[in-house]
């Protein structure tokens, strides 16, 4: 992290901390801020696979949905006279105490949601290890569609998942089951919820930032640049891809859990492919592989979406037109700035002329370090950085 990044990051964090004192905790602005924060976590998670590892994931919404469902289910576990029951569904009357109603239980629940999604990421990842590029995108899209259809499958003769997902109506969290943290209710208009989201956004930042800087992150970058070359350089491609899927899923699951807390309901029906595309748009617009870019991209996109709801002197943009604008933005950005608005900064510094001369004498001349980017060149530059 460069000094400017650190300064900007600190300023942004400060702004986020004092923001509710100016805007309050209730109303449109704080609600938009929460919405942006939750999607920022999701986008940071997606960025691990799309940006760091270079695999286009079109089914990321599956993590949002699973994280949200796991959180809702765990929160609605109820201790009744006859045992333990799920208090899900709209018409289901809740009689009894929440099983996980103790203060701070939500942290464990969010962790469980994250771990469930990390497991989904690995399970989904194992069969897709072999496919690359476009085919990976299509496979993730296909798996997400299968999960979506399965979650809404209400045929009583076959597997019926609507008992768990609530079907078309979704799961509604009973108000008696809203969790507590530090003695306060985790409602969307409570300070504790705002700061929980903020803390988790910062954690997602730090997690992905350190992942990117680590040895694992460098292996992911090598896979992104050239998978065959990375394998030839001794990178365990499968292992690092699975790590990327697990981390991405974990972060997405926590984002999904916050989504449940924020909205109070989880309706799988609304969590379709468009959500995946929306989050992907944020990552792509900001700059794939760039953490600050992803954050700025998704925040800009969500704020733009909210802004388009406003009334401009009697003209309000029809809600469906938002995706028109997103599509147009995707095409324009891909054409004029395919690296995104805030592309990642090259981690390694450029090879100086002296180093280049020293390294390219004799046999080393074979390996021109200033050759176009490739895993070998990147590995070489990293080696120079290390000396």
């Amino acid at each position: 992290m460069s000094r400017t990044d650190a300064v900007f990051g600190a300023l942004a964090l400060l702004a986020a901390i004092v923001f509710p004192w100016l805007a309050g905790f209730r109303g449109t602005l704080p609600n938009v801020a929460l919405y942006v924060g939750i999607y920022m976590i999701l986008a940071l998670g997606l960025n691990v696979v799309v940006g760091f590892t270079g695999l286009l994931d079109l089914g990321y919404v599956a993590f949002l949905a699973l994280g949200a469902i796991v959180t809702a289910l765990l929160l609605s576990l109820t201790r009744t006279e006859s045992g333990i029951d799920w208090a899900i569904g709209v018409s289901h009357d809740v009689v009894g105490e929440p099983l996980l109603g103790f203060d701070g239980a939500i942290l464990i629940i969010l962790l469980a949601a994250g771990l469930a999604c990390a497991l989904l990421g690995v399970l989904r990842g194992i069969p897709t290890l072999r496919v690359r590029g476009d085919y990976y995108a299509i496979v993730t899209l296909g798996i997400a569609e299968i999960l979506y259809e399965t979650a809404l499958w209400d045929d009583t003769n076959l597997l019926n998942f609507t008992r768990v997902t609530g079907g078309a109506f979704g799961i509604k969290l009973p108000s008696s089951h809203v969790p507590h943290l530090f003695g306060q209710k985790l409602y969307y208009d409570q300070p504790v919820f705002y700061y929980l989201v903020l803390a988790l956004v910062v954690s997602a930042f730090l997690l992905t930032h350190h992942l990117n800087r680590s040895r694992v992150g460098r292996a992911m970058a090598a896979i992104r640049l050239d998978e065959t070359a990375a394998r030839a350089c001794g990178v365990d491609v499968s292992r690092h891809k699975l790590i990327a899927f697990a981390v991405s899923g974990f972060v997405g699951g926590i984002g999904g859990g916050l989504y449940t807390l924020w909205s109070g309901t989880v309706a799988v029906k609304g969590l379709d492919v468009w959500q995946s595309i929306l989050i992907l748009c944020g990552v792509v617009l900001g700059g794939m592989g760039s953490i600050r870019g992803t954050a700025v991209g998704i925040a800009g996109l969500m704020c733009l979406g909210e802004l388009l709801r406003e009334d401009f002197g009697g003209v309000s943009v029809p809600p469906e037109a938002r995706f028109l604008i997103y599509g147009l933005l995707l095409i324009i950005v891909m054409r004029f700035r395919p690296q995104g608005l805030l592309p990642p900064v090259r981690r390694s510094r450029a090879v100086t002329d002296a180093e280049h001369a020293a390294l390219t004498t004799g046999h080393a001349r074979l390996y021109d370090l200033r050759a176009p980017a490739g895993a070998a060149a990147a590995a070489g530059a990293d080696a120079v950085e290390g000396t």
């Binding site: 899209l141 794939m288 037109a321 147009l328 095409i331």
Partner: protein, 373 residues
């Protein structure tokens, strides 16, 4: 599962297979040449049905005959397909600064026009105006063919600015552009035609389409006239396409571009025009498939209509071996059978697609390749 092996399902499977094959050839031809999953292809399929609906008459059969409407719908879809190539994908292959800006401006105008159309049609809105609504309707619909015409004339006359050479665009950017194009077309359709599910008016569909064909009763198959129409049309179009690809000069050029674009260019083939032609052919076939699908299912014409058939047709193209036209036909029929015999669910064909991608990434008739990037 024996209840699924019924004659009804067999007929349904054959029809679905024929339709998926018609869409899949569009995917496979484009992928064969420019290595791009044209996500917007499903939207062309949807537009075909919508345009036929407009030409026939939305409420009653006041317009032209449904069979006659197929031809203008095909032409319009061909125009859209080609404009998609010119506006979105051309600049991923070649840098044409003026064309880049022009196409973005045109897309933006199209979007603003569609939004204005939506607002003028909303009676509760201050912008409500019947006249402006009517004018905008045709302006928005006409803009796509006009765009295409302007861009192709401009390209021919060298008016789009000097090419700054070929670019080998990142595959990821190309795919994201295609997703963006698909988003734009879907939203445009939603803005223009609304979110309701529609059907061709009852009196527009000839009576024989919903009657059983007596000749098939002998073998115990309950074939409706429309199913037979689908089979005959699909078969005729497949034969025609096969002749086009194997026997004509442009077909040879298409195959040459699919094998090696650079060499094809050196042999005097105008690669960009061949690619545009590929979009034209694929889009026209998708338009026919869209109309027939709407006739077959009934009451399903909506802006979302292209999504699932589009994905399944892509699965069909992969199953047959992407880039291979005959493979796409075979894959379409196989995917249609999988869906037809599993009660119409989408999950099973998707699962088949994933399995195929994992086990047989080159498909059934695909050429073996050393590596895939």
């Amino acid at each position: 599962m024996s209840s699924l092996l019924t004659p009804e399902n067999l007929v349904n499977a054959l029809s679905l297979g024929a339709l998926y094959a018609l869409i899949a050839v569009g995917y496979t031809m484009v992928y064969g040449i420019i290595k791009l999953i044209n996500f917007a292809h499903g939207e062309i399929f949807m537009l075909g049905a919508f345009w036929a609906l407009m030409l026939v008459g939305a409420e009653q059969a006041t317009g032209i005959n449904l069979f006659v409407a197929i031809v203008p719908a095909m032409l319009l879809c061909a125009a859209v397909g080609m404009s998609i190539d010119w506006t979105a994908y051309l600049s991923l292959r070649r840098r044409l600064p003026l064309a880049d800006w022009m196409s973005v401006a045109l897309l933006a105008i199209l979007g603003l026009g569609a939004i204005a159309y939506k607002l003028t049609g909303d009676t509760t809105h201050t912008w409500h105006s019947e006249t402006a609504h009517g004018v905008l309707r045709w302006a928005v619909i006409a803009l796509v063919p006009v765009t295409m015409l302007a861009l192709s004339i401009g390209e021919k006359g060298g008016l789009l600015g000097r090419s700054l050479g070929r670019v080998t665009s990142d595959r990821l950017s190309a795919l994201i552009t295609a997703i963006g194009m698909s988003l734009i077309l879907q939203t445009l359709a939603q803005l223009i035609w609304g979110a309701d599910y529609r059907a061709f008016p009852e009196d527009a569909i000839p009576a024989f389409m919903n009657e059983r064909v007596g000749a098939f009763d002998v073998v115990g198959l309950p074939v409706l006239g429309k199913e037979l129409a689908i089979w005959v049309t699909a078969l005729a179009m497949m034969v025609a396409l096969n002749l086009l690809v194997t026997r004509t000069k442009i077909g040879t050029a298409m195959r040459a571009c699919s094998m090696d674009q650079e060499t094809a260019a050196l042999m005097g083939i105008s690669v960009d025009r061949v690619i545009a032609f590929t979009f034209v052919v694929g889009s026209a076939m998708a338009a026919v498939a869209g109309i027939l699908y709407a006739v077959k299912v009934g009451g399903n014409i909506s802006f979302r209509m292209g999504y699932y058939p589009g994905l399944l047709a892509f699965a069909a193209a992969v199953l047959g071996g992407i880039g291979n036209v005959r493979g796409a036909m075979l894959g379409g029929v196989l995917i249609g059978f999988v869906q037809g015999f599993t009660g119409g669910a989408f999950s099973v064909p998707f699962a088949v697609m994933i399995l195929v991608l994992l086990v047989l990434p080159r498909g059934i008739l695909g050429e073996p390749q050393a590596t895939r990037a």
